[in-house]
Each structure stands twice: as C-alpha cells, then as structure tokens.
C-alpha cells in the first residue's frame, strides 16, 4: 500500500543516520549501481525492444517505426519521440489517468539523452526530403518501480534502439515483416542519476532513497565521454563543487553501465 508522508519523514531520519556512517541500506557504496541486467528482443511486435532490471526496478522499452512527414525545420531527417508511462501497475504511488508532471519530465529527459547525443542517425531515416521520413517511437513501460527510473529507462531505450530493425517501405507504406537492416545507431548515451539526501550524494537511488531525496541530478553521457544532457531535479540547491563532482563520477560510472549493453 502507498506509504504516508509521515512514513517517509521518519524513514528519512533513519536513512540520514545510516548515511552519516557511510552506510546504504543494501550496503552499496555511495557511487555504486545496483545489479543490472539488460535483455534485448523481448517483444515480437516491436521493431526493437529491451527489458532492463536495475535492482528491482523493471522497465520494458519497445520501438515502433512508421512513416510520416519530417518537421519543417529538418526536412532531411527522420523523427524520434520518447514516451515513458508511469503505469499504475508498477507502484502504489502512480495513479491511472493523464500523464503526470513526473512522467512528462521522465519522458523528456530520456528523450533528450537520445536526441542530443544524436544516438540515432536521423539523416539516414529520410525517405524523400521534405515529404517522407521514418518516425521512430520509443515507448517505455514501467513494470516495477523501485527507484531511479531515469537511468533504467535511458538504458532500456538505447538497448531497444540497438535491437531495432528498420522496416522496408513500399508505396509510402511500411511492409509488415520485411526489413532493410538495422536502425542506424551512432552513439550509446547513458544516464547517471544522483540523489542528494542531507549533504550526502548517492548514485542510483533505490526506492527509499528516491522518496527521501531532496534533490537529484541526472547526467547523460556518451561512449566518448560527451555530456549530452543534464537535469537537476527536486528543490534543494547544489553547489558548483557538487555539480562538478557528480559530473566526474558520472563519466566514470557510465562506462560500467554501458558495458551491460
């Protein structure tokens, strides 16, 4: 059942006490990820798919490809859209209905990690300039929410894209079941998220840490150590030194995370 606010206030006190002794509840180091598994090809109906488990957090990304028109300001490029759904299936805290503010932010930050790194070679997805292009939809279902959705969703998204086959197009329509090759992927952006609780900064917050956090910082990094997106979350501020330190840790830890792909 959904925990009350009071529960989290008390929980935070005990978390803080442990953290001040350098302890996380599952004995991880402050800059350590939980166990991660990535399984590609979990769906036959999607053009590409992947399931990611990060601790008990479980998400499934599916890629669908259709044909559409390009945006007026990039007539020679395919289009891409990420949509993550906080399914009420996955947590007592998620409500059915219209996407919440949190779901929108999650979708947009995962989207930016992929978009700004130019992970997909969108120029190769142009079929007829200004008129017809491939449209790539990355939909992410949250199955079990146990903290740190941002990193799990970005990992699932990029894994699903790597798994994606590009369907054949004939007479301006997708030919069901026929493919011309793999979706052209240039980069592997990874997101690393830190939670700030008191003055402690923790990589990969689990559910309790995520619920007790006062701020968070998500950094997307490519395999070339290029930072392609950042997003501060929560209301507590960060100092310049804290930001710099998280960036340095993320550059290091993103490599380990990427090795799961």
């Amino acid at each position: 059942m959904s925990k009350t606010n009071l529960y989290w206030v008390i929980k935070k006190d005990s978390l803080l006490a442990d953290l001040s002794h350098g302890k996380r509840s599952d004995k991880r180091k402050f800059d350590e990820y939980r166990k991660i598994t990535v399984e590609k090809g979990v769906s036959d109906t999607a053009e590409g798919s992947a399931m990611v488990q990060m601790g008990k957090t479980k998400v499934i990304a599916g890629v669908k490809i259709s044909v559409g028109t390009p945006y007026p300001d990039s007539p020679d490029k395919g289009t891409m859209m990420v949509n993550a759904e906080l399914l009420p299936l996955s947590s007592p805290d998620f409500e059915p209905g219209f996407p919440s503010e949190d779901a929108v932010e999650l979708s947009r930050v995962v989207d930016r990690g992929i978009r700004e790194s130019h992970a997909i070679d969108l120029e190769k997805l142009c079929i007829r300039e200004g008129e017809l292009v491939y449209s790539v939809f990355v939909d992410i279902d949250i199955i079990n929410y146990d903290g740190n959705l941002f990193d799990a969703c970005e990992l699932a998204g990029i894994a699903a894209l790597e798994d994606t086959k590009l369907p054949k197009v004939k007479d301006e329509k997708i030919v069901e079941g026929e493919f011309t090759g793999k979706l052209p992927i240039n980069h592997q952006p990874i997101e690393c998220t830190f939670a700030k609780i008191g003055e402690h900064i923790l990589l990969d917050p689990d559910l309790e840490e995520d619920n007790c956090k006062e701020a968070a910082f998500t950094i997307a990094i490519t395999e070339k150590d290029v930072i392609c997106a950042m997003q501060k979350r929560g209301s507590k501020p960060f100092t310049k030194d804290e930001l710099t330190s998280m960036i340095d840790t993320a550059i290091k830890e993103s490599k380990k995370l990427r090795s799961n792909l």
């Binding site: 959904s2 769906s43 479980k58 669908k64 259709s66 299936l89 996955s90 279902d141 079990n144």
Partner: protein
Amino acid sequence: MILGKKNQEKKYVDKGKRLDGRKTDELRQIDIEVGVIDQADGSAFVQWGKNKVYAAVYGPKECLPRHTQNPLKAVLRYKYNMAPFSVSDRIRPGYSRRSVEISKVSRLALEKTLVLEDFPKTAIDVFVEIIQADAGSRAAGITAASVALADAGIPMTGLVSACAVGKAGGHIILDMTKEEEDAPDAIDLPVAYVPETGEFTLVQMDGELQRKDWDELIELAVKGCEMVGEKQRLALKKKYEGEVNE
C-alpha cells in the same frame, strides 16, 4: 493483413493439425509466474502463445474519491491497457473504446468470485498490461488477474479461468491464434469460467455461429478453461511451495 481470396483456400486444419502444429483441442503454451512485481500486493506474468501479460493487484486500499465507496463491500476496479508496442501498428497511449469495454467485462468476470464483503468501503485495483498481443489477450488478462488476486490474498470462492473457442476453415478449435481469427469464416467466442462452480462469468462472441455448433463449442470452452485452471493452480502452488522451501 490483407485478406485475399487465397485465404479462403487456406487449410486451417490439415490431418488433424493446425497451422502451428496444435491439435484442434489443444491450448497454446501457457506459462504463469506469480509474484513478479514486488511493489504490488499480488501479481502474475502470463505468457500465452505470443501474448505477454502482466497483472498487478493493489488493495484493499482507501477508495477515493469518497463518493465511489460502497459501505457494504470493496469496490473492484480493473484497467486493461495495451503497451504502445504490443501490436504491429503502434497504439497511441490513452483512451480507447475497446479497452474500456474489455476492462468492464473483465471486472465483471471476476467480481462474483471475490469475497468483497470482507473489505467494506475499500477499493481493490487490478491493472493488466499487455506487453505483447496475439489473439486471446483478454482471456490471458483475466487469467493473470485471477492469479494475482489470489497472490494478493483476496479471499475468493474460486479461480476464474478464461480462454477462447471458435472456428476457422470450418473446424471447431480451441484457443485461436491471430492467423486463425483472421479466417474468413472465423468465430471468436471468449469465455471466463469458474471450474469450482461450473459457471460462466464472461461470454462474448463475434462471427457467424450456427446453432448446431453451439453445444460443441461450449463444451470445448469448458475443457479449455479447466486446463487453464490447472496451470493457474500449479503456478500458485509453485510460488507457495517455493516460499515454504526457502
């Protein structure tokens, strides 16, 4: 899929075997796993042929908004949802008439088997997510949901088992695939059944059914549901015994 005239010549059952090698009264492979979503009070994952379905149960819990409460029993709510990538053409997230109807008939298929009177004023939420869909996703959803409700410890008078029977190419068959459902003469008759009481809690039908085929179809449906029920019980037993062994 475009249905040309050639389809009408397709043999849906040849030498007792269907297109996927099954016998006419044989279910697809069904795997049921209990307790797959640790945040939920009860959950199940069902792979049924190409269908992949998660069900999660939350509750009994506070029923909001208040005016929807029932002072005498728990309110059962059911939400069937398809992942956007669960079928060949992407589904846009949000409202669909089909999902609304399936949610309603599925809820009613389960309601009478639950002892809702034990939890007045509360709500019990069932969420069913179709990750991959083939024919029979509503039956897979109800089957998963009933197991998840048992896993959540909701007292019940019997598990609800669901499956579809129908006809393709003139043959009465159990548990059609999408390809069989697309037969020009296809009948699709999904049912939900409580083996303990021998009663039907869901009956729907599309197609062109002759009266003379009814008795055979409904008998086959009973048989199919009984087989499904067996798998549900085994899955629950497995989790229960697993827990005992740990």
